[in-house]
Point group: C2
Chain length 375, copies 2
């Protein structure tokens, strides 16, 4: 399985396969450890975790693997104020709370911990890699990570974001194509102009930066991995493919939704969290966005905190219509399997795809080359 050998060596990986951080329940310690044990890089999505939880989850991962793993946080952002009267957003979702027998929704409290608290905890986990989304890290944070010898990955959705991340000193950049499930990593300009497909975005970033590029967005199998490597990526990051693995911690109703949905049944929504994210279209998304076109949605992370009790109750009750069903556009390729089976399959498939490309090339290269040369 080909890849940038330096990149693999630095991170002590056997396969250029990264499990996307799946903040919100997907990436259990079992999943993270299974991916790392299979020679890939498991990632803890810790954006919503307290410092104590970060330590606990990392300890649990380390009890299951001695291989490298990564940890992901959201880049710090300025505190947000509601852009609409909070009562409007609260009123908009109240009926769903009552439908699930929950107390009326309340104005969400901010998190009880800061980014620097989280980072301090992350630095002590023994993670080999640290990735972040939604911005650029403050330089003190970058320095603290480098001093620990941690490999740092930023997340970009445009060429200019990748360039800015490289300038800030990241060791590699995860390029998020428009196909990707979950939150858009966009931090410059409007998200809608940053919806670039992976097949276009990856080579343009590769041409613009010197650091390794990790492709993400819509990659589900060995064909997608071989394609990403052909585009110049050093590795790939897969999220949706890992969500249906047996070690993933998502509710069964969410897993079923992924296994049954088609490639054209996702869209970008702000309804759950206040930040644009791709998920399978469901009742909550449709109804909250209808008519008022987002006028009843608080900015991130307020909307996320507002809807959390609803999503937690929906998970318990198997009510997919109220869950944030984050998923990418490769849905028809999702399968039920273990993470070890998935990684092994990805490696074998990628090798087979490349071997086949090479074999066809050998058979056809003479006529093809003379065709080109005759002009």
């Amino acid at each position: 399985m080909p890849a940038n050998a330096d990149f693999l060596r630095t991170l002590k990986l056997q396969n250029p396969i990264i499990q996307a951080p799946l903040a919100g329940g997907g990436d259990t310690p079992e999943l993270v450890a299974a991916v790392s044990n299979a020679g890939g890089l498991g990632f803890i999505g810790a954006g919503y975790l307290s410092p104590d939880q970060i330590a606990q989850v990392a300890n649990s991962v380390k009890a299951k693997t001695t291989r490298p793993f990564g940890i992901n946080l959201f880049a710090p952002s300025d505190p947000v104020s509601p852009t609409i009267p909070p009562e409007v957003a609260i009123r908009r979702v109240a009926a769903y709370f009552s439908e699930l027998g929950l107390p009326a929704p309340a104005f969400p409290a901010g998190p009880a911990f800061s980014f620097s608290d989280q980072l301090k905890a992350a630095l002590e986990t023994g993670a080999s890699a640290f990735s972040f989304t939604f911005g650029v890290l403050p330089s003190e944070a970058m320095q603290a990570l480098k001093q620990k010898g941690i490999f740092v990955l930023g997340t970009a959705t445009t060429v200019n974001e990748a360039i800015e991340l490289e300038k800030a000193g990241v060791d590699a950049v995860v390029v998020q194509g428009s196909e990707a499930g979950g939150h858009r990593g966009t931090f410059q300009g409007d998200f809608s102009s940053s919806m670039i497909g992976t097949i276009s975005l990856v080579p343009q970033v590769v041409d613009a930066v010197r650091i390794p590029v990790i492709a993400s967005g819509g990659i589900m199998d060995g064909r997608g991995i071989a394609a990403a490597l052909a585009l110049g990526a050093s590795a790939v990051q897969l999220g949706t493919a890992f969500l249906t693995c047996k070690e993933s911690g998502i509710p069964e109703a969410y897993r079923e939704a992924i296994l049954n949905a088609m490639e054209d049944q996702t869209r970008i929504t702000r309804a759950f969290s206040g930040r644009p994210a791709r998920g399978i279209v469901n009742r909550f998304m449709t109804e909250v966005e209808s008519n008022d076109a987002g006028e009843a949605i608080l900015p991130f992370p307020l909307q996320n905190a507002l809807t959390r009790p609803l999503r937690t109750a929906a998970a318990k009750n198997g009510r997919a219509e109220f869950l944030s069903l984050w998923a990418g556009q490769g849905l028809r390729m999702a399968r039920r399997q273990s993470a070890a089976e998935l990684v092994a399959r990805l490696v074998v498939e990628t090798d087979a795809v490349i071997r086949q490309l090479q074999e066809t090339r050998s058979h056809e290269s003479l006529p093809s080359k003379s065709g080109a040369a005759s002009n």
Copy 2:
């Protein structure tokens, strides 16, 4: 250069490279013939051409090449009625007409010829391939093409569209990823749920149909071609890459816009034609869509006919702000070159990418495989 050998043999191609039909001036006879002479498949975009023009353009192509070429039409659709009072749309664009010194815009007349007139002409051109967009062909049209031994390609933007085209008897399907420039080929449901990235869409279509799949959308160089072949495509179709070739007939202002634009500077618009299409954001697009959010835009082809005099005058005067600057998301990879140079470069690059994948694989396959097997 690898590809489905059967597909190449059937169409007598040396390279699995199709020049996308570029209705509206891009695909001059010089461009079409140059692509075919280079061992690819040049295509005449004849959707807006009269039967006489179809015959003339095809004769001009045949004077320049003896190699196979293709012709593209829009699938026939029911006549449309204005969805808004036509005066609203006319008033919305009137100031631009006056800015260019044109007579006031008028309610557009329908075309003076029918699809079956166009098809009759196309059948007599000697084209080896026929492709269509925006729907499925009537069965009489399919039969007429097959009787002539013409290879028929439909255009799909979702898996279900590809399945419907296969059922209708097409010989191959062009899969249009969300990255693609120009009009969306979507003919089932809303275009916005059909914005699937190429890296996700191609393998899902390949899994669902038995006919060859041609990948299009965001492919600009050998990396993109190798990626498409890895995804399971038998060939690729490139539009934007050919638009900046010297044989292309687009106005210089349009060519300059492509060469200077970045990957995040296109979006989908209905402002020019009434049908969703991807182009470089410019003044006309922004202004016509602002505030009234499309409420002043006629359905296709009425809006297209309404804005045609404006676009024609803008082309003459080098006013890119009034041109429909159709382009895909791979813009940073566009270059000034001849079509022969482009095709030759694509062939060499694709081979190099595949060779490199294969070489890295050979070096790393043992550790990588043992890593997978150890689980």
